[in-house]
Symmetry: C2
Subunit: 255 residues, 2 copies
Amino acid sequence: MNCNTPTDIAFSFSGFSQRSGRTGNHADGWGIAFFEEELGLRHFVDHLPAIDSPIADLIRKYPIKSRNVIAHIRKATQGPVNLQNCHPFVRELWGRYWVFAHNGDLKQFGPRLHGNFRPVGATDSEAAFCWLMQELAKSHATLPSVDELTLTLRELVPQLSSHGTFNFLLSNGQALWAHASTHLYYLERRHPFMPAELEDDELSIDFASCTTPQDRVAIIVTAPLTRNEEWMAFGQGELKVFVDGALHLRDAQWR
Amino acid sequence: MNCNTPTDIAFSFSGFSQRSGRTGNHADGWGIAFFEEELGLRHFVDHLPAIDSPIADLIRKYPIKSRNVIAHIRKATQGPVNLQNCHPFVRELWGRYWVFAHNGDLKQFGPRLHGNFRPVGATDSEAAFCWLMQELAKSHATLPSVDELTLTLRELVPQLSSHGTFNFLLSNGQALWAHASTHLYYLERRHPFMPAELEDDELSIDFASCTTPQDRVAIIVTAPLTRNEEWMAFGQGELKVFVDGALHLRDAQWR
């Protein structure tokens, strides 16, 4: 989720977490990270399925408001079910936290990690994230603009996605980058806000009752979360960047 | 807390968190980090006082078991009250997470950070942690033994503690290092276990009923947490290391 005003993710997370056992089989741990005021970060991971986790229960009930949130429910492909293999992963670069979650599977993948980022767990995903961070650190001496970062990521990502399925979300608290190699959908909610009904749970919300006309929210997901909104599919190999709750316009022009 | 078997911190945290407003004035945010199986890490921070925080409430009720836990309640000296200034801080080095919390105040302190660790927030504490990580990374190519790390820390720490009060806790999931420049106390609980009564809350526990004879737990705190146990004071400038719930013996011989 990427927004222009701090927004809670309780509604979306209620549906999403159902996919960790009830409406989906991603039950090998889960995690969520919330940026707060760009620099602050709350990071929660649990090896339990999100539907059974006391921490997920807290997230559903405690409306943490954030402008950039990344959540993940894991279906283990590489690496056992444990805490260090739960996404999202976090690292610091240029005095900012970076958060990364991956859906997919990279085969025959052993990136050359000669820099300052090493995986703690055993997933292909964390290795890919460490390589991305290493290469970003080599490409820029200090934090560049969102547009510069997007250009660098466009160069780097194909070197990873050539190894397999590489749908990912990445955020540094300023922007949210999303890459699709197979399935990814996004939705922009803005004025006039409408009611929405979850796909995975008996829950609906009328966003008009809890928003202001200035609010903008973008949601990016593997599969649409609601049944009555217009989700747009990413193209294969597309990297999009979201800023302030909308597809980044300058970036959109470049495509 | 450092233990030889995964142990929950609910009892100690119940008393400790009272000091964030009721029995103490460290009400400017709080945080806690639990290692799991050495490599996994759960990290919780909140800008609210620990007595009012829904996340602290979860920690008091959900018995997360860990062999190394670092908790902190903040009384802001440098840096505003926000999430990025809450301790403990986390970084990755040599494929392990490192967790750091500081009690004290370093004056006229601007360490030369030319390496790969930069503060995200505005505290002297996070700057000191980044400098320690930078210097550890320069001193060893890969993860050294606990004893080697202790020797390196003994060289580094005086360069920081010369700037002011520098009581800190540091863990990489294998060991817990504790340095006192003013106040720090520790306690080793082992067989035969006895009842304990909190100093800050109306709560007592009979550890004999929830332990095995092999269990060992070391607790290191700014001020004793219980009223009927024998807490030992650190000397000024002492750096101790705890492994498997006890003061590390080889280290103790060196002193």
